[in-house]
């Protein structure tokens, strides 16, 4: 929790710096006010501005409105509490932790996302927290496409003191995944993390490549990959739903790493994604150092999303 507080502080700092005078936030809208149709409208607007999406925002507004009409929700504060409860129920705790291999390892975590989402930095964060928990980690540099992607992961592996498996620039990423899976078993590591090339979900052949990477590790290690983490940039708009949909079809995504939440973006898109695909958020990224990672906490997320 205290960890999360730092995230919220960062968020608040960010918001304080750029908040434009005209955009009243939900908190100021709701606190100490009686609920009214105008208030509901303002609430809807604030949710849209957090990238929740117009459809989901209208649905949530209608839920609150129904509670208002039944006389259950009378004040703005109650509406905020209602919102938090809803979201907490939406994201049960079991959903939010990493799943590890039952019995002997290695646990395999496949990390994917579009270009520039923050995959490699997010991997550094996941690796650091696993390592701090006393687990041994092996990284696989399956981004053989982008210039210097392997080097980027190598720099992190050196800084974090973990090993990395790499292949040829321009080589077959599935072959790197194969080598890495074998190495992970042979070296008896606890967790294997696969870094993949950024790809737009509209590139069919690249999505098929991802499916192949997945099936290659699945063949090598039973039950793998145990987690497929989709990294989504908190600034992403409604296109995030399409991203999540297509990546899930290709690789059975198990959770989201919401990156770059230390800016002014609120990352509301993950709620729309949960609504459309039932995908949980597992981590949030709040900075550039490997320590800047937090577990996802829905109630705090609502707070941060609507913070002043």
């Amino acid at each position: 929790m205290s960890l999360f507080k730092s995230a919220i502080n960062k968020l608040k700092q960010g918001l304080a710096k750029t908040r434009s005078g005209s955009a009243a936030t939900v908190r100021t809208i709701l606190t100490g006010k009686k609920l009214s149709p105008q208030l509901l409208k303002d609430l809807e607007r604030a949710m849209i501005q957090a990238d929740i999406g117009i459809k989901t925002a209208v649905e949530i507004r209608k839920d609150i409105q129904a509670g208002f009409e039944r006389g259950e929700i009378e004040s703005g504060d109650q509406a905020l509490a209602f919102l938090k409860d809803q979201l907490r129920a939406y994201y049960p705790e079991t959903d939010r932790s990493l799943h590890f291999a039952r019995g002997e390892g290695p646990t395999v975590i496949l990390v994917a996302g579009i270009n520039g989402a923050g995959k490699t930095t997010s991997i550094a964060k996941i690796t650091k927290s696993l390592r701090d928990d006393g687990k041994s980690v092996l990284l696989a540099a399956c981004d053989t496409f982008r210039a210097a992607a392997v080097e980027q992961l190598e720099v992190w592996s050196e800084r974090l003191g973990v090993q990395v498996i790499k292949g040829q620039q321009g080589g077959d990423p599935a072959a790197v995944a194969f080598d890495a899976a074998q190495a992970a078993v042979a070296r008896g590591v606890d967790v294997l993390v696969l870094d993949t090339a950024g790809r737009l979900h509209t590139q069919d052949h690249l999505m098929r490549q991802l499916t192949k990477i997945r099936s290659v590790v699945a063949k090598q290690i039973p039950g793998a990959p145990h987690e497929v983490i989709l990294v989504i940039d908190a600034t992403t708009g409604q296109n995030g739903i399409n991203q999540a949909k297509v990546f899930t079809e290709a690789t059975d995504v198990t959770g989201i790493f919401l990156s770059k939440l230390d800016g002014t973006a609120r990352g509301g898109i993950v709620i729309a994604i949960r609504e459309a695909l039932n995908l949980p958020v597992k981590f949030i990224g709040v900075g550039e150092t490997p320590d800047d990672v937090e577990p996802f906490d829905p109630a705090k997320f609502v707070d941060a999303m609507f913070a002043e």
Partner: protein, 501 residues
């Protein structure tokens, strides 16, 4: 979405036509659909509010109320207004905003023209630097790429690789060089300020080398990070870039206005580059950013390859934001692939009924190079929104290619020689079944015949003749791959199933 939007318009406006005149309230209702469409496209809430209100006033003023086709007219007004806002709003002298008179980059003499790239992490700065260098090389400029991102691991190496690639592979008589000081690279937050020295030295190097353009690739940073924004301001005053571009991910949501505003306030931007436009984003961020900064959108990034940088055309993005497809891009893509002479030669051949399987294969491959079927169809008006649930299978084209390649030279020149045993051999060679070969041959015959008939027709009747074609034939040709899961087919399938029961 265009069809979608126009349907909704029709609906909202027709409800009243029975009762007589359209009221302002009806127009308002229809405008709500525009608002939703824009918000779904990620245009910023307040930008949308202001935009729809302005358009509403215009629509009422322009007598949509008494128009015979109010829905069509309204779409026209919305579209035009969107183009106006996205395009040359600041430049009232340019009559047609879709055809900007000014080139995207103003060069200074004597050089070097200094261009600074700035933006959030992961927006695509380094890749865009490489693409821009390619764009300039094609225009015979000598370019130096300067690696001023000293904090992201391997960013310097990445730019160097790109510079080498562009220099080696990109067309044009220009040249691309690379400048970096790798020893200044440090962990996040520890090299703040070092970029200023690097940029200053790079400028000196560019001057010494008598270089035309210097491109500065700065590190990604959050617009609320005071230290790093301060560093950008320092670079700005140290080297005085002639152009400062903000690089923005086209998939950005509501927050685009916050970052764009902050960068613009601190740096006085000259233009914006929207990246990752080859995704299926509707790109409402373009509208937000243009409205908030007032700065022109110079380029859009449309792919991972280094030539995938295009000049910005407001017309097309407007269509896309409204979900109307981008037919102009499609035509341009086609033009890139085939020269006019080639096209004429083929047309001639078709008219005489002399098209061969080789010609067909050539066309197929040309189409292939233009992109995936899905991306091509997505540019057609009205198709975009329906593509979401359709899995377009490019494998069909692969198969057609394989079949033709399994034919002998003689067979490709004259399909009449295709006996059953030949067909069997071809099918075997292509790993297809014989029916697929038959389908292809039949489809080919039909196209040849049509080619003869069409010669002499006007463009419009050609279109009509095409639309009368049996889609199954087309699919056999590989020209139109089978659409799996298309709603139409699904419902047909269901009906069939029901009948069987």
């Amino acid at each position: 979405m265009f069809t979608n939007l126009s349907d909704k318009f029709e609906g909202a406006l027709r409800r009243l036509s029975g009762r007589g005149k359209i009221s302002e309230a009806n127009v308002r209702e229809a405008m709500d659909e525009v608002r939703t469409a824009l918000l779904e496209a990620d245009a910023h809430y307040e930008v949308v509010e202001a935009f729809t209100e302005a358009v509403l006033q215009k629509a009422i003023g322009e007598a949509v109320l008494s128009s015979l086709k109010p829905a069509q007219q309204m779409i026209g007004i919305v579209h035009d207004e969107l183009v106006r806002v996205l395009g040359g709003e600041d430049d009232p002298t340019s009559a047609d905003p879709s055809e900007p008179e000014v080139p995207p980059i103003m060069y200074v003499h004597p050089g070097p023209t200094v261009i600074m790239m700035a933006g959030l992490q992961g927006s695509g700065k380094t890749t865009t630097c490489g693409k821009l260098a390619g764009y300039l090389k094609k225009r015979d400029k000598s370019v130096i790429l300067c690696a001023a991102d000293l904090q992201r691991p391997a960013a310097v190496t990445q730019l160097q690789v790109l510079a080498d690639q562009v220099q080696a592979d990109a067309p044009g008589s220009g040249s691309v060089h690379f400048y970096a000081e790798p020893d200044k690279v440090a962990e996040y937050g520890k090299a703040v300020g070092a970029a200023v020295t690097v940029c200053r030295n790079a400028l000196k190097a560019a001057k010494d080398a008598d270089c035309d353009v210097l491109i500065l690739d700065t590190a990604g940073r959050l617009h609320i990070n005071d230290d790093l924004m301060g560093e950008l301001r320092q670079v700005n005053s140290a080297v005085n870039p002639h152009q400062i571009y903000l690089i923005i991910d086209a998939m950005t949501g509501q927050d685009a206005v916050n970052s764009a505003k902050a960068f613009n306030d601190q740096l006085e931007l000259d233009g914006v580059v929207l990246t990752k436009f080859d995704s299926d984003t509707r790109g409402g961020a373009a509208l937000s950013v243009k409205k908030i900064t007032g700065k022109p959108i110079k380029f859009i990034g449309v792919g991972e390859k280094l030539d995938a940088l295009e000049e910005f055309h407001p017309e097309r993005i407007a269509s896309r934001i409204l979900g109307m497809g981008d037919i102009v891009s499609l035509v341009e893509k086609a033009q890139e692939q085939v020269s006019e002479e080639e096209a004429l030669a083929l047309q001639e051949k078709m008219a005489q009924g002399k098209m061969t399987m080789d010609d067909f294969l050539k066309q197929l491959r040309m189409m292939r190079r233009m992109g995936s079927m899905k991306s091509l169809l997505g540019m057609l008006p009205g198709v975009g929104s329906q593509l979401k649930d359709i899995d377009l299978d490019d494998k069909q084209i692969d198969q057609t290619e394989a079949i033709i390649q399994s034919m002998t030279k003689q067979e490709r020149q004259d399909i009449d020689v295709l006996t059953t045993s030949r067909r069997r051999r071809i099918a075997k060679g292509a790993g297809a079944d014989q029916a697929a070969v038959g389908k292809l041959v039949k489809g080919f015959e039909m196209v040849s015949k049509m080619g003869k008939q069409m010669s002499g027709m006007g463009a419009l009747s050609k279109m009509k003749a095409m639309s009368g074609m049996d889609p199954a034939m087309m699919s056999g040709m590989g020209g139109m791959p089978r659409m799996k899961g298309s709603t139409k087919q699904k419902s047909k399938f269901k009906q069939r199933k029901r009948k069987r029961r």
